[in-house]
């Protein structure tokens, strides 16, 4: 590990340093504001530091990591999203509430560290470690002790299912290692392409890895935990799971398949197509009549990951670009949507504002949040002038370009079903204010939370109408992932 590699790896090192610093700070003095602000400042610093690492890229940092354009893009997305989640969490936890809140930020930082390392991973060891650092931290965050009953239940579910899926992932890695004798993505790719007598091991291994990854990405049929955990976790944590962990895991599996597996084998491709189609249709169907907004968004995220698989299956430059743009669009939109849910909720209330009735009359009582949520939902539905529209266009383009007939058909069908439930939420917000709530004094959320939502909204509209800069950035960074 030479100086150049060290410099390139600096943003990640910085994140580790920030984590330790915050831990020490908490050790010295427990103060919610201090912990939160130092976390936010630290994440901001990392975000700033990331582009500074660009001149050194691409560079290998030990056999475990690499820093290249794609890492800068995806890690940037992870760090930026984490920053937004941190601010939203500060707003969410800021209310009068008993109990210590400082560990929350520490876990947020370790989770972010694990997630940020995933895009840079080019080795099973780093892949696994990043993933598990993320998972264990999330376990703490999901079950984060609060008066909310569901937290513990959600935590248990994540514990058992996550553990099982990790075991599958590890066993798969072990099979591939047993077969090829290496755990480096690049080496695996070289050996695979050179022709391998025991390809079966690699295929079964990949299938088991896909099980683990499919779980994290909540793809059908590994999706069943998703709504329960999204509902049970505190709203900002839900945003984190929905956005940060998805981006991180998707980026690493994208790299794995590009570097190590080229075309993943015809049979597994068929399996992946099936997973994509099932996710698109299943996710949307599950969301159809859902009356809990967090669950609805959870099912919708299942479908969106299915959409994303279309770009993944399409591959090639266009597929990578489409995936990158779509992930960015998905990040902005989902952060916005869950952020608004968080802005409407307080942990002291016993549950988050996630029932459909909580949204009745929102256009009247909280016009800004309602309007923003409306635009976020339109983006999820893929309507202009939002990023979601461009993103969906990109996906269909990649799918059509690669001639993926069935996945594209499922995408179209899924989108049509999707429109229905997104608009249901819109309709709910347009309903009259329930009598019970109209008497209560108007609730307010911290201003900075709304500012974050406003920034996301601006991004959503700006990159939705003029996506050229974003595409240019993607070409510059994530497009370089090609093996």
């Amino acid at each position: 590990m030479n100086a150049a590699a060290f410099a390139a790896f600096a943003p990640f090192t910085l994140l580790g340093v920030v984590t330790i610093a915050v831990m020490l700070l908490i050790a010295v003095r427990r103060n919610h504001h201090l912990a939160a602000l130092s976390t936010i400042a630290g994440l901001l610093l990392c975000c700033i530091a990331l582009p500074l690492a660009a001149p050194a890229a691409p560079i290998a940092v030990t056999p475990l990591f690499v820093v290249d354009g794609s890492v800068i893009f995806y890690a940037g997305l992870v760090l930026g999203s984490a920053l937004v989640v941190a601010i939203l969490s500060y707003a969410y936890l800021g209310g009068p509430e008993q109990g210590p809140r400082e560990e929350y930020y520490l876990l947020l930082l370790t989770a972010t560290l694990g997630a940020a390392l995933l895009p840079a991973s080019v080795h099973f060891a780093s892949f696994f470690l990043g993933l598990e650092t993320l998972s264990i931290s999330l376990l703490g965050l999901i079950a984060y002790a609060s008066p909310r009953e569901e937290s513990a239940e959600a935590g248990i579910k994540y514990l058992i299912l996550g553990g099982a899926s990790s075991a599958f992932l590890l066993f798969g890695m072990a099979l591939i290692y047993a077969d090829l004798g290496t755990m480096s993505f690049t080496q695996i790719g070289v050996l695979t392409r050179a022709g391998n007598p025991h390809d079966l091991f690699r295929l079964v291994g990949t299938a088991m890895i896909l099980t683990g990854v499919g779980f994290k990405l909540s793809l059908v049929p590994f999706h069943m935990w998703t709504p329960d955990i999204y509902e049970g976790a505190p709203a900002p944590v839900t945003a984190f799971i929905a956005v940060v962990s998805k981006i991180a895991v998707f980026s690493v599996i994208l790299r794995y398949f590009i570097l190590a597996d080229g075309q993943a084998g015809a049979s597994l491709r068929a399996g992946l197509s099936m997973i994509a189609i099932l996710s698109m249709l299943g996710g949307n169907l599950l969301a159809l009549m859902q009356n809990n907004v967090k669950r609805l968004l959870a099912y919708s995220s299942i479908a969106h990951l299915g959409y994303l698989l279309v770009a993944f299956l399409a591959g090639g430059a266009l597929g990578n670009e489409a995936a990158a743009y779509y992930l960015a669009a998905y990040a902005v939109t989902s952060l916005g949507a869950f952020g608004i849910v968080a802005q409407l909720s307080t942990p002291g209330a016993g549950r988050d504002a996630d029932r459909m009735e909580d949204y009745h009359g929102l256009f009247r009582t909280r016009p800004f949040l309602a309007g923003s949520l409306a635009l976020m939902l339109l983006s999820l539905a893929g309507l202009p002038p939002t990023m979601g529209f461009i993103g969906k266009f990109y996906l269909v383009a990649s799918g059509v370009g690669a001639g993926l007939f069935w996945p594209v058909a499922a995408l179209v069908l899924g989108s049509v079903i999707g429109i229905y439930y997104y608009l249901r939420v819109l309709v709910a917000m347009a309903m009259p204010v329930p009598a019970a709530r109209s008497a209560a004094p108007p609730a307010t959320a911290p201003l900075f939370g709304n500012v974050v939502i406003g920034v996301l909204l601006a991004l959503l509209l700006m990159l939705g109408t003029y996506p050229a800069p974003a595409i240019a950035l993607i070409r510059l960074t994530a497009g370089a992932v090609a093996g």
């Binding site: 580790g16 030990t62 109990g99 210590p100 876990l107 060891a125 703490g140 079950a143 047993a178 079964v204």
Partner: protein, 166 residues
């Protein structure tokens, strides 16, 4: 076929079967420890003494102690065992067992059909492992420390919540 390996593997599998079928938590824990020790034996046979040692110290030692501690704390008695027996009706276990059997068959077939070469009969001692850990896997160690940090923080936080009775 190495007899040592065969015996150790047989014990491991048998003990595991016992573990997942015992109604008593303490019994199950004991069987699990036996299984782990047998696996340590396998590691030793395979020429991985360092892994064998860790298996004994950390798995059979530390982790099992944690379990025992929790079992003691929860004070699970005969009533719970009766309940466990009740839950272990064939209707409850046939379906899942079939699933597990399927998976086992798939992986077993794979291992049998794979026809991979024999393992190199060399011992990879603690020194070799240590060199690798401080070399290419240096960052892995660092990250593992963060993993442990996260686990400690999470466990601490949740444990405190238990103590506070939230």
């Amino acid at each position: 076929m190495n007899a040592m390996f065969a015996i150790a593997a047989g014990i491991a599998v048998l003990a595991t079967v016992m573990m997942i079928t015992r109604p008593s938590a303490v019994h199950a824990l004991l069987y699990l420890t036996v299984s782990l020790l047998a696996v340590a034996m396998v590691f030793f046979v395979l020429g991985a003494p360092f892994a064998a040692a860790l298996e004994v110290i950390i798995y059979a030692g530390a982790i099992m102690v944690l379990f025992v501690f929790v079992v003691m704390m929860l004070n699970i008695g005969g009533e719970a065992e009766a309940l466990e027996n009740d839950w272990l009706k064939p209707a409850a276990w046939i379906g899942p067992s079939v699933l597990a059997l399927l998976l086992g068959l798939e992986l077993g077939t794979l291992a049998a059909r794979g026809g991979l070469a024999r393992s190199a009969a060399t011992v990879i001692g603690p020194q070799a492992v240590g060199i690798a850990l401080t070399g290419p896997y240096m960052l892995a160690v660092e990250i593992a420390s963060f993993l442990l940090l996260a686990a400690v923080v999470a466990a601490f936080h949740l444990g405190r919540a238990v103590m506070r009775g939230v």
